[in-house]
């Protein structure tokens, strides 16, 4: 199951590191001008790296990345590059007919890698269907993610293997599962935390509101990580909410913060802060990562019907990978050799994924009847037997020919 990415070079704070964070309360902060704002009225974002790759000071969040090393930074960069490469390969494989569908994360690498690298091994992740970067951070072999998009299974991995739950397609459902899991952690007296990913569109679902209610009432150690990529298929965020999404949390009684979703450092820091609150028994946090879906919603979607190129071009200028590269180069944290080596590694990953997908066998027909129940079921047994007899009738025919 484990892949290259498990050799994490990014910080993983230990359970003991709670000092100085208890009692933190805020909505949003930072004096920095909103980098990704579409409207002048947009609130400021937590940002540590500008789109030009300059490190900016942040009084509240700098401490969460204070001990980050050059190697950690290169690790984050590597994660983003390889995740994007994997994503591009999957998109290409869909175009070649190897996958039935693909939901690309293009543009959301920083939000996913930043938050994903803030997690501890014993934390638990509840993703949607687009968290390929978070899966990468968890050490889930990326080829495992492709089974359901190829149509050979409806999940494809053991969620307990890497504390990374199965992808959830019904919008918002997993936020409740995350909350319940977090409630269980509290009951057990453990200090792990849970993170639930969802989109801006999902924030409208009743399940998400119920998850907010439960997590607040039971003070559950869960971080709600909303990737606001501006669109829910064809609907802009304005069709979901009249207030900035992070402000939703306030009405439920827990803090919300908006972070520059294209700034991997800021995502790391803010998620770290939220996780530490959870571990310290301070309950849920809503993080809104303000980012952008650079491609189509999925490979079935046609964004030219509802959005122009202008917006995309503006966001390309804020590309999360480019931003960190600029910083790495300017600060001499990485040399040409590093980038060249990564390029080779990236190509190798693409090749490995391509080959693995093409080699993925179709499932056995009897898989239909597998695992329908844990304890077995007479009707399933009966139908399996009928199915077997039916299949065998063709075999006889073929044999007779």
């Amino acid at each position: 199951m484990t892949v290259e990415s498990t050799a994490a070079r990014t910080p993983r704070r230990s359970a003991g590191n709670k000092a100085g964070t208890t009692g933190t309360k805020r909505t949003t902060s930072t004096t920095k001008k909103a980098a990704g704002a579409r409207k002048s009225a947009e609130p400021a974002l937590v940002q540590l790296l500008t789109p030009e790759g300059e490190r900016v000071k942040n009084a509240e969040f700098d401490k969460y990345v204070a001990d980050i090393t050059a190697e950690d930074l290169r690790g984050l960069y590597r994660d983003m590059v390889l995740t994007r490469r994997f994503d591009a390969e999957a998109t290409a494989l869909q175009r070649q007919g190897e996958l039935g569908l693909w939901a690309s994360l293009l543009g959301q690498e920083a939000a996913q890698i930043g938050s994903g690298r803030a997690l501890r091994d014993d934390d638990y992740v509840f993703p949607t269907y687009r968290e390929h970067g978070v899966a990468w951070c968890r050490g889930v072999d990326p080829t495992n993610l492709l089974g359901m998009f190829r149509g050979v299974n409806n999940g494809g991995w053991d969620p307990n293997g890497n504390n990374f739950h199965l992808y959830t397609i019904v919008i918002g459902s997993q936020t409740l599962h995350a909350t319940g899991y977090a409630m269980g952690i509290t009951k057990d007296g453990a200090d792990s935390a849970v993170i639930a990913y969802f989109g801006d569109g999902a924030s409208s679902q009743g399940d998400v509101a119920e998850a907010f209610t439960f997590s607040a009432v039971y003070n559950a150690p869960v971080v709600f990580f909303c990737q606001n990529n501006q669109w829910a298929i064809s609907e802009p965020t304005e069709k979901q909410s009249r207030v900035p999404l992070y402000q939703r949390a306030q009405g439920f009684g827990f803090p919300g913060v908006r972070v520059d979703g294209n700034d991997v450092l800021a995502n790391l820091a803010v998620t770290q802060w939220a996780l530490e609150r959870a571990r310290a028994g301070e309950g849920p946090t809503l993080v809104e990562a303000f980012t952008y879906r650079m491609g189509a919603h999925t490979t079935s979607d046609d964004p030219t019907r509802y959005r122009g190129d202008e917006e995309r071009l503006a966001w390309e200028a804020k590309d999360p990978i480019l931003r960190l590269r600029r910083y790495l180069e300017a600060s001499n944290h990485a040399d040409e050799g590093f980038f060249a080596e990564l390029e080779t590694e990236s190509e190798a990953l693409g090749k490995r994924v391509r080959e693995a997908v093409r080699a993925m066998p179709d499932p056995d027909h009897f898989a239909i009847f597998e695992n329908v129940y844990a304890d077995g079921h007479a009707l399933v047994d009966e139908e399996r037997a009928q199915f077997a007899a039916y299949q065998a009738s063709f075999a006889d025919e073929d044999g007779g020919k």
Partner: protein, 325 residues
């Protein structure tokens, strides 16, 4: 005016006509506006009727149906779109506990002219929750009417009738037939919404189906004809109510019945039909009523759906078994 058009286009034309004819008709759902829906069924409607008639809703199915109920209370006739079959369940509570029962609870003083459009069924190679056939889960609930067209003309006319109905109608659209073209006469006088139709006459056995399986049954009848068997094909068109008189009439003639649907057989609409027809036609039947449908298993991943879905051979197999009695 008879015109050849795809089933999806026929629904689009029908919605257009309804929006044009009655200012109280509104279309609501996720992505129904600029995008025209993920299947383009509502394509161009927002452009022509505006955002207050063709409404992109927040991503919340309970909200979509719940507010449609409120709009209906205010005299509107909402036609809501659920993007895919598997996503109707967040709205299931509103449909079952509220929409279905409002008329009865208000002593008949309140009408619920809400149409819930659901693209349903498999065969398009989609990921999970995009291929299900949940009609039986709704048919069990009194107060709902459930229909499913199998061709473009029915899609056009049944949508007109569903919108005109003062009862809530769950309108199951066979998504894998969206692109099938058929003649639509927009000036015809349609038959009753809940009447079944014989689409092919036969004498040896009746195949009863609705929605996506009607076309398959016609193919089965063609194949059986080559073997010298005469199958009658009945398009039920409506799942609640079911036109049992039509099924009975056909079975009294052919004496054999096979019901075909994509949904799981267990507790499915075929079970209801088998029970009723056994009661009504006990002395006419030469064989038990047989059912062909899905298994008692989650809808499988795309690469297995051909094994799961009824196909020509599986239906022919049931035909053989029936004829062997």
């Amino acid at each position: 005016m008879a015109e050849k058009m795809a089933l999806a286009k026929a629904i689009n034309e029908s919605l257009r006509r309804a929006l044009d004819a009655d200012p109280k008709v509104v279309v609501m759902g996720e992505d129904v506006g600029k995008l025209g829906g993920v299947f383009r069924v509502t394509d161009g409607l927002q452009k022509d009727f505006g955002e207050s008639r063709v409404i992109d809703t927040p991503l919340a199915e309970s909200g979509i149906v719940g507010t449609a109920i409120g709009l209906a209370l205010r005299g509107y006739r909402p036609v809501v779109e659920i993007q895919f079959d598997g996503f109707v369940f967040p709205a299931y509570d509103q449909i079952v506990t509220q929409l279905a029962k409002m008329h009865a609870r208000a002593l008949g003083k309140v009408k619920m002219p809400v149409v819930v459009r659901i693209p349903y069924g498999g065969g398009i190679g989609a990921v999970e929750h995009h291929s299900e056939s949940p009609e039986a889960l709704f048919a069990h609930v009194a107060g709902l009417k459930i229909v499913s067209p199998s061709n473009a003309s029915d899609a056009y006319w049944m949508m007109q009738q569903a919108i005109q109905s003062d009862d809530p109608v769950i309108f199951f659209e066979p998504k894998r037939r969206y692109w099938d073209k058929g003649e639509v006469d927009t000036e015809a006088i349609p038959g009753p919404l809940h009447a079944a139709r014989v689409v092919r006459e036969g004498t040896d056995l009746t195949l009863a189906a609705y929605g996506p399986m009607v076309k398959l049954c016609q193919e089965v009848a063609d194949a059986a004809a080559e073997e010298g068997r005469s199958l009658e094909v009945l398009d039920l068109r409506s799942v609640s109510p079911i036109d049992f008189d039509a099924v009975q009439a056909s079975v009294e003639k052919t004496r054999r019945l096979v019901v075909v649907h994509e949904a799981p057989v267990f507790f499915g609409s075929g079970a209801e039909i088998a029970a009723r027809i056994t009661e009504r036609c006990f002395y006419h039947l030469e064989a038990p009523v047989l059912r062909v449908g899905g298994y008692h298993a989650p809808y499988p991943p795309a690469r297995l759906e051909e094994s799961y879905l009824p196909d020509l051979d599986r239906v022919l197999d049931a035909v053989d078994r029936s004829l062997a009695y």
